[in-house]
Amino acid sequence: MISKLEELTLFVVLRGSGSATASEVQAALSEAAKKEQSFGSVFTTLDRLSDKKLVKWRKGEPDRRRGGRAPRLYEITGAGRKALDEAVRATRIAAGGSGSIAPWGVLP
């Protein structure tokens, strides 16, 4: 089972369709929480998800500005989609819903 923060992070990574950056994840989480989310927790969560093989990353293009750094581009894996789907299903069941799978239908 994944934590709520991991679940939200996975949602944002999924939405980023293969090129989500830590900055985008932090922006989305800040918007959801209505306060500035800590970058530290975002990086830690992404690292943890990466260790669990729920997301994978590749190096992006360096920023155009002088001395610009290359961000990691995160992409959700099959295991990640499955974990996310299970988390959503668990939430629905806990909320008294049908427990049916998410609209994007990950599970067979």
Partner: protein, 162 residues
């Protein structure tokens, strides 16, 4: 832009004088000396004391002399501020992250923080507060990284111990 230094002496009579000050400072950040409103009692007294003038409302030769005095006094400060401002252009460099986090992780961290700084924090909070947020977030990221690293290794130690 020319190297001319703009001196703006506000009478403070205009009802939007604060806005005018701000827009002038924004237009000529390095080349403007604003003498604050004469209606501002404290500042007026301060300026009068510095230049040994009884009043700040001056005209003709007196004003010209006053302005040249101002320029003479402020010249080193203006030059210094130019140097500092030049260093401040763009997002912070994130020296602490480069120093304390492994290179491959630091690159992504800095990219994320610098993007957030430029695209969200500066427009939302202004440069000064954005810098403070950048600093706080940097320290949080460094601590988060090392705490996570420690926890991971402690878990491994526990695993082998059992």
């Amino acid at each position: 832009m020319s190297d001319k230094i703009h001196v703006f002496i506000s009478s403070g009579h205009h009802r939007d004088w604060k806005k005018i000050h701000e827009s002038l400072v924004a237009t000529y950040p390095e080349k403007l000396v604003v003498v604050p409103s004469v209606r501002d009692g404290e500042l007026e007294k301060g300026w009068a004391k510095v230049f040994e003038a009884g009043k700040l409302r001056m005209a003709g030769k007196e004003r010209t002399r006053f302005i040249s005095m101002l320029l003479a006094v402020f010249r080193p400060w203006i030059e210094l501020s130019k140097v500092f401002r030049r260093g401040r252009r763009g997002p912070p460099k994130g020296f602490l992250i480069d120093l304390l986090v492994p290179a491959d992780r630091a690159e992504d961290m800095l990219s994320g923080l610098q993007t957030a700084y430029e695209e969200r924090w500066v427009p939302k909070y202004g440069a000064r507060r954005a810098r403070r947020i950048f600093m706080t977030q940097s320290i949080g990221s460094i601590l988060g990284f090392w705490i996570d690293w420690m926890m991971k290794h402690l878990r491994l130690l526990k695993f082998f111990a059992s």
